[in-house]
Symmetry: C2
Subunit: 201 residues, 2 copies
């Protein structure tokens, strides 16, 4: 039985929900916002700041180069501290086992663990993704399909950049995962069942 499940996901594919239900079904620890809290305690940065920058290419692009160069020569950049804390915490969590980890390079940090199953959740149906994004977006924002689509593409692109920068691997390329599920064809409940079956040796 594989005891660690990492869930990587394209934006608005239902990946987080798959992870949450999976953890509930298995009675496993679920690391998503909880992970942010741990990183926050470790680094002193707020959870909101870590959520914004901890899984985004903005984590290394958020300073003008000249300022960054000055900063880097005197002390570690704040986002580097977040990445280091994230790596250490994910490793600790992995050692404990019986956990579901959403994003945050969990699949790369724990890639050498034997009892890991690396899952990628995506949806090949853009309309479905737009609808999901629409439901989750605040009412006071522009929620036109064009805006939703733009957001989806931008978030995916940003995750890919971040992943590439810190992992030297391509995000969303199946060779980096063990099981990839398209939620446009296989619904969330079914996806959870599939992962549980795949965890069995």
């Amino acid at each position: 039985m594989k005891k660690i499940v990492t869930i990587s996901r394209s934006f608005s594919s239902g990946g987080r929900e798959v992870g949450k239900r999976l953890a509930q079904e298995l009675g496993y620890a679920y690391y998503d916002k909880q992970l942010l809290k741990k990183i926050s305690q470790e680094t002193g940065f707020s959870s909101e700041y870590i959520e914004k920058y901890g899984e985004s290419s903005a984590s290394y692009l958020s300073y003008p180069i000249t300022i960054a160069q000055t900063l880097i020569s005197t002390y570690q950049m704040p986002n580097e501290s977040i990445q280091i804390a994230q790596t250490n915490i994910v490793r600790e969590i992995g050692q404990k086992g019986n956990c579901v980890i959403i994003g945050r390079r969990g699949d790369r940090i724990l890639k050498d663990e034997k009892s890991i199953l690396k899952v990628f959740i995506y949806s090949s149906d853009m309309d479905q993704r737009i609808q999901r994004c629409y439901k989750k977006s605040p009412e006071d924002k522009d929620k036109s399909p064009q805006v939703m689509k733009k957001k989806i593409i931008a978030v995916d692109k940003d995750r890919a950049k971040y992943y590439r920068y810190y992992s030297d691997q391509n995000w969303g390329v199946m060779d980096n995962y063990n099981l990839c599920i398209d939620t446009s064809k296989i619904d969330i409940k079914q996806a959870v069942k599939l992962i549980i079956l795949a965890m069995q040796d």
Copy 2:
């Protein structure tokens, strides 16, 4: 219940075996060599010729350009006839349903079918692929790991070229499939169980 399963696969990943066992378990028609025979009957080319060129970029690169240009202006190139026959036959098979189709652009030709599940089988462990390739290669050939690895990379590259040429899509990119299974982590028996579970609505 999804009634058509297409299995695309990277070379030496066990994809064909997954498909064969799946068809047996479900009592579905299995189209692999049988598909070659049908195309052979339709076009008059031998099964061996179709096997060699029907799923390879050599199907459109096997003539020097000048000869090809002359040929194409006077009559259809033989490999184009094979592709057309393949498309028609796969469509017919899809209409009948209850079938497992290995490769041959089945996923693209039948992409608009509602009852389809498009599976991609791969292995993220090159050593395992080399071992599988070794076992299947003839004894009188050079079976060194270097040669096996070269062959694996070459066949995958060729399939990708072929797929791109005839489908205008990228082969092995998860968005083109509904379920992608890594046989280095999920063995063949387990992969069959996963597909059967994923077929259920």
